[in-house]
């Protein structure tokens, strides 16, 4: 990341929102880990040993078909965590979790998290609301995948990523984007080319720089605004960011 920030679990907004006594119990058990681009944290069906709270990294949850084809169902950054299935009594995850933007995260042993749940405090409450925002995102992605063009979906995806980054630069391979959107690489090349021609992004060799965010918002389908609005409503602990023009 270009901007330096003192490494702290508070980089994750959910952790930062916990009461001081909960933080005092949990923070000593958090382990800071580096998440390189493309690293798989879980395959679907894997038992979850740790949960991850992204600091400045972004993780994608993907559905993987028997054929190997995959598509993103939700994206997790510093607003949430990877591993909500744990408190639901599902010991394994239904999706693959893969690092979509490199950076750091704090991880915690699943058992520690469960112990904290059983106190029925703050953490449980925040995680429940976070789970609801994930469900919203998944349902919206389903309908978006079905009815919106690759161009629109790429805009939605870039905006969701941008909200979880500290600057406007994203390092991504074309192949990873294609796996996120569940399309061929050529589809991504075409869509990114169009966005570049319109001056919305600059794209070269896996580096995407967003030049004109309002334009991206205009070109995106409604799904970005729907998810953003619902996430902000459900997670009042998120720092205030400018709302997309379309829902203000």
């Amino acid at each position: 990341m270009s901007l330096s920030e003192t490494p702290s679990p508070r980089q994750n907004h959910l952790l930062a929102a916990l009461n001081p006594d909960v933080q005092a119990r949990l923070f000593p058990h958090l382990e800071r880990v580096d998440l390189p681009l493309g690293k798989v944290l879980y395959e679907s069906g894997d038992a979850m040993r740790h949960v991850y709270f992204p600091a400045d990294s972004i993780v994608s949850l993907l559905y993987v078909m028997e054929s190997g084809a995959s598509a993103e169902i939700s994206v997790v950054g510093n607003e949430g965590l990877i591993g909500v299935a744990l408190f639901m009594g599902g010991e394994s995850t239904p999706s693959r979790a893969i690092v979509q933007s490199s950076g750091s995260a704090y991880r915690l042993l699943g058992q520690r998290l469960k112990d904290e749940f059983n106190r029925h405090g703050d953490l449980l409450l925040l995680m429940l609301r976070y789970t609801q925002s994930l469900i919203t995102q998944m349902a919206q992605t389903a309908v978006c995948n079905r009815h919106h063009s690759v161009d629109q979906q790429l805009c939605r995806w870039l905006l969701l990523s941008l909200d979880r980054l500290r600057d406007n630069k994203l390092t991504m391979t074309q192949e990873l984007i294609a796996n996120m959107l569940g399309v061929r690489r050529e589809g991504v090349t075409d869509a990114a080319g169009k966005l570049q021609k319109q001056g919305a992004i600059e794209y070269s060799r896996g580096h995407i720089t967003v030049l004109d965010r309002p334009k991206l918002e205009k070109l995106s389908c409604e799904c970005y605004a729907v998810v953003k609005k619902e996430t902000d409503r459900l997670l009042p602990y998120l720092p205030h960011k400018a709302m997309p023009t379309s829902v203000s």
Binding site: S44, L61, Y63, V64, M65, E66, S67, A69, S70, A71, I73, V84, A85, F87, M88, G89, G90, P94, S95, L125, L128, R129, T131, Q132, L134, I135, T136, M138, A139, Q140, T141, A142, V143, N145, R146, H147, G182, E222, L234
Partner: protein, 228 residues
């Protein structure tokens, strides 16, 4: 009256207390039970009827997200501490259901650890279903997807006959009506179903399972695993 599989999973004393707070209602085909964004007024535990939840878009046809029958409950997300309805819910199969007002339901969640545990497990199934359906919508052909939805419906209808309009099937799968005509015609030609003016009869359940994509079986597996 027969209950609902989620309620049946509760210890008898807790189940009776919860049923004591419920009333039985008759779900009628086509009724909208709740709209997304509004607060939940009731939760529903279907017995014979079943409910579909729908995601809506501004300029497109809606998309069915899932079916809720006697294996589930409409209103599970109340257990997440959020009062608003995430998706529109419409009755897809007429029949009986248990219904409880949202207030007593929230009180029941606070009082009954067993209910909360069942609800959390059900939420896991819901997440797994959403995940699976996303992949299915994206990658699978219309005919296997239609077979999957017919199986999901068959499981909840408790009958080999059920009513599904062409328009509803198109929304279910997010395709044009002509796509449904072709796929249903194909299943009919294989003598797996009979489909006349919105009336569906399942003729060969095993055959339908064989035509379906992997997603039907995966859903059954997730449910069985979580509620084992």
């Amino acid at each position: 009256m027969r209950t609902n599989r989620l309620l049946e999973g509760l210890p008898p004393k807790e189940r009776d207390r919860i049923l004591g707070r419920c009333e039985t209602v008759e779900l009628e085909f086509g009724t909208t039970l709740c709209e997304s964004g509004s607060p939940y007024r009731h939760v529903y535990f279907p017995v014979h009827g079943f409910i579909s939840t729908v995601a809506t878009l501004v300029n497109h046809q809606p998309l069915e997200i899932r079916l809720i029958g006697d294996e589930g409950v409409l209103g599970a997300t109340l257990a997440l501490g959020v009062d608003t309805v995430p998706l529109r819910a419409v009755v897809q199969g007429s029949g009986a259901a248990w219904r409880m007002a949202a207030g007593p339901f929230k009180r029941s969640l606070r009082e009954s650890p067993a209910l909360l545990r069942v609800l959390r497990r059900y939420l896991y199934v819901l997440l797994a279903q959403l995940t699976q359906s996303n992949g299915c919508n994206r990658f699978h052909e219309v005919e296997p997807r239609l077979a999957r939805w017919l199986l999901l419906t068959h499981d909840r209808a408790h009958s080999d006959h059920f009513h599904l309009t062409h328009d509803f099937l198109a929304d279910m799968l997010g395709v044009r009506r002509s796509g449904i005509t072709i796929a249903a015609g194909e299943l009919q030609k294989r003598e797996l179903i009979r489909y006349v003016r919105g009336e569906i009869q399942v003729l060969d359940r095993k055959g339908l399972e064989a035509r379906s994509c992997e997603c039907y079986e995966a859903g059954i597996r997730d449910y069985a695993q979580v509620f084992a």
